[in-house]
């Protein structure tokens, strides 16, 4: 059985790779505004829940978990994993263009490697098919040959 992903499923995989990294970046930005949380200032955590960046980050992370589980319902774990790895690339690019961090040659090479890895896996089948007993009996009986 051949598996081709519908455009809707590609959108979900895109959401998996984008939402986690953008959500983490938003949390990082929000917590930077809230200030350092330690054992003496645990009340700040409650305060953080009202920061718009933190709220947006939490919403995106919930969205990540929902889209990740949806993807796992129709694809292999080893197929979805590279999509989450693409998130590292998005974080590196976001920190370069949004937070103006330096992008070294090493990091560019790392981005290239991860993008290649995603390409390898995306070209393959998305799901391992285990033939059921009925299918195997059908094959044994010679039908469909």
């Amino acid at each position: 059985m051949k598996h081709t992903l519908t455009p809707q499923r590609y959108l979900i995989l895109l959401a998996v790779s984008l939402s986690a990294s953008v959500g983490d970046t938003l949390l990082k930005r929000g917590m930077g505004q809230v200030g350092t949380v330690d054992m003496q200032h645990l009340g700040l955590l409650w305060h953080a829940l009202f920061n718009p960046y933190v709220i947006a980050g939490i919403v995106l992370l919930i969205g990540f978990f929902a889209s990740y589980m949806t993807a796992l319902s129709w694809a292999d774990l080893t197929f979805v994993m590279p999509a989450t790895a693409l998130g590292y690339v998005v974080i590196a690019l976001l920190s370069h263009f949004w937070l103006h961090e330096h992008l070294s040659l090493y990091r560019c090479a790392g981005i290239l490697l991860i993008v290649c890895a995603v390409g390898f896996v995306a070209n393959g089948p998305s799901r391992t098919e285990h033939p059921s007993h009925a299918d195997l009996d059908l094959m044994d009986s010679g039908v469909g040959r």
Partner: protein, 133 residues
């Protein structure tokens, strides 16, 4: 140079975090696989139709144990970050989780991890280490 005991403690923390992540992801993947395409569980169209899939997922014990592992993983990572530097802990746990997931998916989920996927595992681990430089 770090003392051997500190090194041992750091790496056992990292291994523990990775092990929890692998267990959590495999259990959640196994649970989701048992449901099949979630769209088929939808009872109505529109936003209310999502009640069916959400109820099915939340009543699955395998999923709940997996989610518990992921929650423990989060707190174990917080603890690890208090004794290990982020620049070592983040890429090390990410790569170990990645390799472990591929092995566990082959052994327990019976996924067909072909040469393409093994190559991807190697590339991602190398990429993560380069990104952390």
């Amino acid at each position: 140079m770090l003392a051997p005991t500190t090194l041992l403690r750091s790496w056992s923390c990292i291994l523990f975090v990775a092990a929890l992540a692998i267990a959590g992801e495999c259990l959640i993947a196994a649970a989701m696989r048992s449901f099949g395409d979630l769209d088929r569980l939808r009872t109505k169209s529109g936003i209310r139709g999502y009640a069916g899939p959400i109820r099915a997922v939340l009543s699955s014990p395998i999923f709940l144990i997996g989610a518990l592992c992921m929650a423990l993983n989060f707190f174990a990572m917080l603890f690890t970050l208090s004794i290990v530097e982020l620049s070592l802990a983040a890429p090390a746990t990410a790569s170990l989780t990645y390799i472990g997931n591929a092995i566990a998916a082959k052994l327990f989920l019976r996924e067909n991890v072909d040469h393409r996927r093994w190559l991807a595992v190697g590339f991602v681990c190398a990429g993560v280490f380069l990104l952390s430089k």
